[in-house]
């Protein structure tokens, strides 16, 4: 191939002949950005822990309980990870929940969320560096990420979305670093810097599986563009995919070992599919096979999570990326950020999961936090919008480069402030994630009071309680070591205790009237089903506390 200097217009930034610092492994400022992300969530955590709202989501309480049960249970061990959720978030919480206070207060989730936000911030910072964005647009992207109240709130809880966001961003950062590196990275480096985060994501939430798959294609395409052979490109892709493959294999092996079914996480009675089947049976899964409604619901979730202005600017950024970068390597890095969104939209259309908000039929508030995985992508696109505008205007009139940058950054700042002020006016009505949290909080008040009563009156002797129903996911509020509980999570021991409560537990907490539900077994209280109408039980136990349909019984003992 002949190289010749030709007077062509360079459209993608000034040509650099020296080593580009953005292509070196170290990206200046990463540590400071990490610390900034941690600090922002730490401040948010002070508020949510003080108000107790960090424990509003039942799922958050359940994640804390699962993590704690690995070491504090009548049947400790990894078997407590179960199959409902992927294991990494619980494993990351494991050291943090060993302290009973951190477990009961939910601070363990805050610590993990803060670290994840710090990691996400640093990863986004590095991605913007690899894309050779000027400083101000990089700051804009970071600001959009850190100024999102929905993401900040969820980061103070023990939900799994912050872990996913961190894993996704680290994976993209690793792939971006590999694609833009001025030297050829080894397969091992690719596996470590991109493959491992992808594997973490794969064992965090299923959206990351789509990113891992997209990453494989990314590696093949970029490798081929770099002049590698097909064989070499496939080897590169395998290096990237290997950790994820090992992770998936481990997960299948775990399901086989614990439940006897490698696909228990997909087909078991506690799987997500079982829940959506209930919705479909009730006629509420209207997004299934309806791309328009699915798009409307997903769009509404994004609107109430990220805001209209950010979405518009992000779309402009995406359009400019398509125009200026077409399908080159940097554009492909940007498109990687949309993999999780594409997966979620596909899941809605295929009926694999359900999302409900005001755009849904029927309307409600459920599962909207899934859309948080799109927030980093929108943040990146917003920064790119400013960056592309700077480049376009700068090439037209070089002296406008800086003013456009400042104006763009100022516009985004105004937008973010205005957006947050708007949301602050009615958080529960204008942010669907907060709306869902408030709804669960309202439903949980009675349960929390009941849990506190038991905590204050418990005098040992173990407790029989089915903590699987969502309203009985009370472990953090109970504040009692989980090893004192016979719950469904201890398998056969629980069945024995239900069959003979007198010999096993001094206390029984259950629904006074059995829950009549057409849904899955997770909605039923198996203790109540067995004992609510048992005269022998009521003769042996005295109702010590009741509120609503919640009853706490104590065994009648000789003084």
């Amino acid at each position: 191939m002949t190289s010749v200097a030709v007077p062509v217009r360079v459209t993608s930034g000034p040509l650099r002949v020296s080593v580009d610092p953005n292509r070196a492994r170290r990206v200046p400022g990463s540590v400071w950005v990490f610390l900034l992300g941690v600090a922002v969530v730490a401040v948010a955590s002070v508020y949510t822990v003080r108000t107790g709202t960090n424990l509003d989501y039942g799922d958050a309480r359940a994640h804390l309980a699962i993590a704690r049960r690995i070491t504090d249970s009548k049947q400790p061990g990894l078997v407590q990870l179960g199959s409902v959720w992927l294991p990494v978030p619980h494993l990351l919480l494991l050291p943090l929940v060993q302290n009973l206070w951190m477990f009961s207060s939910g601070v363990a989730g805050c610590v993990l969320g803060a670290l994840c936000m710090g990691t996400s911030s640093a990863a986004l910072w590095r991605i913007t560096a690899r894309l050779r964005m000027p400083l101000l647009p990089r700051v804009v992207a970071l600001a959009v990420l850190l100024a999102n109240p929905s993401l900040l709130y969820v980061s103070t809880t023990a939900l799994t979305e912050p872990v996913l966001v961190a894993a996704v961003l680290c994976t993209i950062a690793g792939l971006a670093g590999w694609a833009t590196s001025h030297r050829m990275l080894s397969g091992g480096e690719l596996a470590v810097f991109a493959g491992l985060p992808a594997a973490m994501g794969v064992l965090t939430r299923y959206e990351a599986w789509a990113l891992a798959l997209a990453g494989v294609f990314f590696v093949v395409i970029v490798s081929r563009r770099k002049g590698r052979t097909w064989r070499a490109s496939i080897v590169w892709a395998a290096s990237f995919a290997a950790p994820s493959a090992v992770a998936v294999a481990w997960w299948l092996a775990y399901n086989t070992a614990v439940f006897g079914n490698p696909l228990e996480f997909l087909t078991g009675q506690y799987a997500a599919a079982a829940f959506t089947e209930v919705f479909e049976r009730e006629g509420q899964l209207s997004t299934k096979h309806n791309a328009g409604l699915s798009a409307a619901v997903y769009g509404r979730a994004m609107l109430e999570t990220s805001g209209l202005a950010v979405m518009v600017i992000a779309f402009v950024g995406l359009a400019l990326t398509c125009w200026r970068w077409a399908l080159d390597d940097r554009a492909l890095v940007v498109w990687l950020g949309g993999a999780t969104s594409a997966f979620l939209l596909f899941s809605l259309v295929s009926g694999q999961h359900i999302m409900v908000n005001d755009a849904a039929l029927p309307p409600g508030a459920y599962n909207n936090r899934y859309v948080l995985s799109a927030v980093p992508w929108l943040a990146l696109l917003t920064g790119l919008a400013v960056s592309h505008l700077m480049a376009l205007v700068g090439h037209w009139r070089e002296w406008l480069f800086v003013p456009v940058a400042v104006a763009g950054a100022a516009l985004v700042a105004v937008v973010l402030v205005a957006q947050n002020v708007y949301w602050a006016g009615d958080p529960g009505g204008r942010m669907t994630i907060i709306e869902e949290a408030e709804a669960q909080h309202a439903e949980y008040v009675v349960m929390r009071e009941s849990a506190h009563w038991l905590r204050d009156h418990y005098d040992g002797g173990d407790v029989l309680m089915d903590q699987t129903p969502a309203d009985f996911s009370l472990a953090p509020d109970l504040g009692i070591p989980i090893r004192d509980f016979y719950t469904r999570a201890v398998g056969g021991l629980f069945d024995e205790a239900v069959a003979d409560p007198w010999s096993h537990a001094r206390w029984v907490m259950m629904h006074i009237r059995p829950i009549e539900s057409g849904g899955t077994d997770t909605e039923r209280d198996l203790v109540s089903d067995a004992l609510a109408d048992d005269p022998a039980f009521h003769a042996a136990y005295r109702l010590g506390y009741s509120q609503g349909n919640v009853g706490i019984y104590r065994r009648v003992e000789q003084p």
Binding site: T2, V4, V6, V8, E282, G283, Q284, S286, N290, A291, G292, L293, A295, A296, G299, F315, L318, A319, C322, W323, R324, W325, A326, L327, L361, P362, P363, G364, I515, E516, S517, G518
Partner: protein, 677 residues
Amino acid sequence: MSRGLVARALATVALSCTALVGVGVVAAPSYADEVDVPPSLTAGARGESATQVYVPAGVTPTAVVGTLAVSGADGGRVEFTVEGRVVRRITTFEASGTRVTLPVRAGDAANGSITIGVRYRYPEVDRCGYLPPDIVVDLTDLALRYTGTPASPTTVGRFLGPAVTGVDVVVPDNPTDDVAEAALTAVTALASRYAAPIPVTLVRDGAAPTRTLAGHRVVVLQQGAAGAVAARLTAGTVPTLTLSGQGDDLVEAARALGVDELGLAAAAEAEELGLTEPLDATGDEGSDGSDADTSLTLADFTTAQALRLGGWGVSRAYVGLEQDRFDGPVSGFDLHLEGAHSVVRRSDVRMDVYVNNQLVSSELLDEDPDLVLDLDVPADVVNPVNGLELVLNALPECDENGYGTEVPPVVDVDTSRSTVVATRGRGETAGFALFPQVLGHRVPVAVHSLTVVDGGDQLAQAAGLLTAMQRVATEPLTVDLVDARTLVDANDSGLLVGATADDTQALQAPLRLEQVRLIDFQEATYRLGDDARYAALQVVQDHGRRLLVLGGWTPDQAALGARLTDRLVDYVDRVGWSGLDEDLLVMAADNRPFMVSTRTLLPQDERVEEARGWVWWLVAGIALLVLLVVLQLLLRSSRNRRVRDLIRAQQAEEAELEERRRLLEEADAGSEADGRP
């Protein structure tokens, strides 16, 4: 008897008969009956509460009955008075209420009304520090028992008096638009004039009066000559007033039924029936965000010049603050209460202010006699009708001898200087609770048929709903009868009766009038399956306006849907507009109505299909991005091709130069070999 006397007697009889055109007075045998009357009474621990019970002309009252409920009592007795005379004492109370009968003498109704009073006498304890109990005495569901034959009014002016106990508004089977509008206007005017439980019903010509009790009236509206509206009074079992006219004149005559100016018509027949003075401006445009006044005084909500509280223990004063008085929905209030109180030096006297049973202010009274309170009532406290309650808690200070050191306190809140400033908006009010204030006192009404169709009378259904709304409105509603299509396509809030599936489709209503299922709740299952017929009243939000839509559905388009709709309207009349909750009222075939939020509806196929269209926005966005990529790729391809051509041209030029140089060198070498210079 002389012939002159007989002649005079006969002439008197003849004159009397001519004053009663049509059928003469039907002499009916005496009978006893009972008719509901509107007012109810509430009394506290001190003071007496009284009300007027109007007695229809010609009958002899025998008793007033009511339901007594007492709460918070600890001993003491309740006394009932008739014309100031104690007629009954009750010392045993039941909180759930007991039916009591208050005997009435014929002479008590000398002025056409009887004053009924209720008061509570608490056990007097002569001890400083004794506080009377905080009790509430309610006497509700009042009814008047009577004997005798009701006398018919002899003039138009006396046709509608305070003793009316029910009104039928009669329309022809096939009324013209102006007659129909006049009928609906008459219904709202009469409902505005006579509070519940006095029934105001729209019926068709030829139907028997709905009631024949004393005080019942019939108003007939019919097409007449253009110009002045003629009013003709007909005596009979039920006195009847017939209004004949056309157009706006007939409508205005119907509206005049709601005001006392009618009393100027002092004959059995009258023309130009209308108002001698114009009504206060009503029905202004005020819909959401209107410019109507948002600053009122407490005097606009109560006739009392001052709200007085006093004495030791607990005393209360209550004022209802209806949103409707602001001519539109409001989301919050700023209250400014101003008045005076007696000087308090040593005793513990506290004044609490509640809005809708929520404490919004608490002040200790002291030596400064001025009372000034400024309160902010937020959106989450505001209801369509709000209760402002002032509560004075006074605990006396006693000396060592057990004597009080101060006189009981007194607080007066000046209603003309105390203000209520509202903030426009809906706040947390939603669904049926937005009505009628969201209408701004003007109601466009549309029906699909003015005649009875398949046993369903849409005009009567509209009248029933208007009556219920009028009873909670603070001013008469102005009815505009419009075409159904016009209302559907317009931007105004209003009422649509007899809605079809196409209407609900056009309005994007949450409930399309097709088959529907509701979500089963754990607490209650609404038995509405796929093929269940139903009638429904729903609130439709359409680009900022609010429409009430009444309609029904049957799987085989049978007429049963119309009768279900009638029963739904009857239910609304029974519970009252304030008894409606959420934004959807459904009457199923089992006649058990229930109210739910439209958010509980399972998605109907029509709405799900409509939503498919959103995918085109996604497709358009993706197409745009793909287009941008393709364009850029084409541009790059073109640029790369130009670059390659340029490179090839340069290479070709260099090659040619090289060839020339080689040829020159060869030529030079050949010359040297030949020895040529």
